[in-house]
């Protein structure tokens, strides 16, 4: 039997460009965040955590939105293209990592500024629930079964999460509130932040978004290869079984003779 080979290359000129841009902007954030920007009047050096915290939070939420949209596309599209499912899965994986980073950097900042690692405020609590929910989502993806089964199950779970999150957020909001009010998007358009700090923060958001895009593009290509491999292995097993039964029937018929 001929062994089928896969080209193990997932990079294309576009992903290379995205990757290079991500690297450059991340370098900018590191230099800007650690050396160029000034200390905060109240928070001191702790403010530098913001250059990681805010962009990772943004990317995590973006990732979960991408997962929800891709899942809805899979369910609604007539062809049920597996591409949607893989993008949903890849995006959720990256989202979970970034959400964990958000919680980690946030609790370090909280320890320095509030004096405690954790506070039971709506935004923190909802974020923690989001993390657990998507860890569950990834577990559902790993349940096994056919690709179609995986796609259908996880798409439903992703959409149920969209129902769950506002309910959790609202109920915790009713429960109590204490989080640092958003300072850039405060609504009145008056941004109270040093120019270099704001630039670094924005570059951070762009850099982390590019990193997210790069990771998801690569991850969904790797997932496509894994799916293809699973299918070939299945085909091979089926062929083997078919050969087996053919051989057996030849032997049996020769016995009968």
């Amino acid at each position: 039997m001929e062994a089928q080979t896969f080209t193990a290359r997932v990079a294309t000129p576009t992903t290379r460009l995205v990757g290079a841009m991500a690297l450059v902007s991340m370098a900018w954030v590191v230099i800007g965040g650690l050396f160029v920007t000034p200390r905060d009047v109240d928070q001191g050096d702790a403010v530098r955590i913001m250059y990681v915290h805010v962009p990772t939070a943004w990317v995590a939420y973006l990732a979960f939105i991408v997962t929800a949209v891709a899942s809805a596309c899979w369910l609604l599209s007539r062809k049920h293209s597996m591409g949607f499912d893989r993008v949903a899965g890849a995006s959720a994986e990256v989202g979970v990592v970034f959400m964990a980073m958000t919680l980690l950097s946030g609790s370090l900042w909280g320890r320095i500024t509030w004096g405690s690692y954790w506070a039971w405020d709506p935004r923190l609590t909802t974020t923690a629930f989001l993390l657990v929910t998507y860890i569950g989502y990834l577990a559902v993806r790993g349940l096994g079964g056919s690709l179609e089964q995986r796609a259908r199950r996880s798409a439903v779970i992703a959409l149920l999460a969209v129902l769950e999150i506002p309910l959790v957020h609202f109920s915790v909001l009713m429960w109590r509130s204490l989080h640092q009010k958003a300072s850039v998007l405060s609504g009145d358009g008056d941004i109270k932040m040093d120019g270099s700090m704001l630039t670094t923060l924005l570059v951070g958001v762009i850099g982390f978004t590019l990193t997210f895009t790069w990771l998801v593009l690569h991850r969904q290509r790797v997932l496509a290869m894994q799916d293809a491999m699973q299918m070939t292995q299945l085909d091979a097993a089926l062929r083997e079984r078919a050969n087996e039964s053919e051989n057996k029937s030849v032997i049996e018929s020769s016995r009968l003779k």
């Binding site: 629930f129 577990a139 559902v140 349940l143 199950r153 439903v156 779970i157 109920s171």
Partner: protein, 231 residues
């Protein structure tokens, strides 16, 4: 083509079947109720303070309910998936939405019975005083919270039953989703108990949250249950 059974008839039949099995096997009465009672006693050991127990009694009742919910749901689907009954129901052409509502109804009946027992346990063990002013609030809270818990439980129970042998996943998937019910039902119950000086009127907005929750997941379950249990 045979005549289609209405959703209500399927739901009634499925619920009656599940409850009949429970009545005959007595697993819920002989094992799950004593377990829940045991949890209530364990809370008292852990907290070790009469005033604290009275203050947090509402939350403990609902926590014990959540723990029991996990077992009741696993049991409800283990009975079905053990001999392929869930598949048989689907192959028989029953509307999955009807199966969902029926199983959720059966869970609801079991949970309400359990909660009544737990409230009595709270009165006896935690020295909670029931007030007639809070009675309507308490009953409304119990019904709406239990509906929400049953819908979510049945939904995720169906998913994990579809993926055979992965029941360990149920608590991880289900508990984050029912967090709003825990918060809402606890606050409403505390208002009904008037614990910590809470007023009965404070509880009603929480009942609103519970009703919205039950409606959202009831509808979500009716729409998606078929996709989740499909093999």
């Amino acid at each position: 083509m045979s005549t289609q059974l209405s959703l209500g008839r399927i739901a009634r039949a499925v619920a009656a079947k599940d409850l009949r099995i429970e009545l005959r096997s007595r697993v819920v009465i002989n094992q799950i109720f004593p377990f829940a009672g045991l949890v209530m006693v364990m809370f008292a050991f852990a907290l070790d303070n009469d005033d604290v127990l009275t203050r947090v009694a509402g939350g403990l009742v609902w926590l014990a309910t959540l723990f029991s919910l996990i077992i009741i749901i696993q049991r409800s689907f283990a009975v079905d998936s053990a001999d392929g009954a869930l598949e048989a129901q689907r192959v028989a052409g029953l509307n999955p939405a009807g199966i969902f509502v029926g199983k959720a109804l059966a869970v609801m009946v079991q949970l309400v019975t359990l909660e009544i027992m737990l409230f009595f346990a709270a009165v006896v063990l935690y020295r909670v005083e029931l007030h007639s002013d809070g009675a309507v609030l308490l009953v409304t809270c119990v019904i709406s919270a239990t509906a929400g818990l049953s819908f979510v439980g049945t939904l995720y129970g169906g998913l994990t039953a579809g993926a055979r042998g992965r029941e360990t996943l149920l608590p991880l998937l289900m508990l984050p989703v029912v967090a709003p019910v825990l918060i809402g039902a606890t606050r409403a119950t505390e208002s009904a108990f008037m614990s910590g000086g809470a007023a009965v009127s404070d509880g009603w907005p929480w009942v609103g949250v519970l009703v919205v929750f039950a409606a959202v997941f009831g509808l979500g379950g009716i729409l998606s249950f078929g996709s989740l249990i499909e093999e």
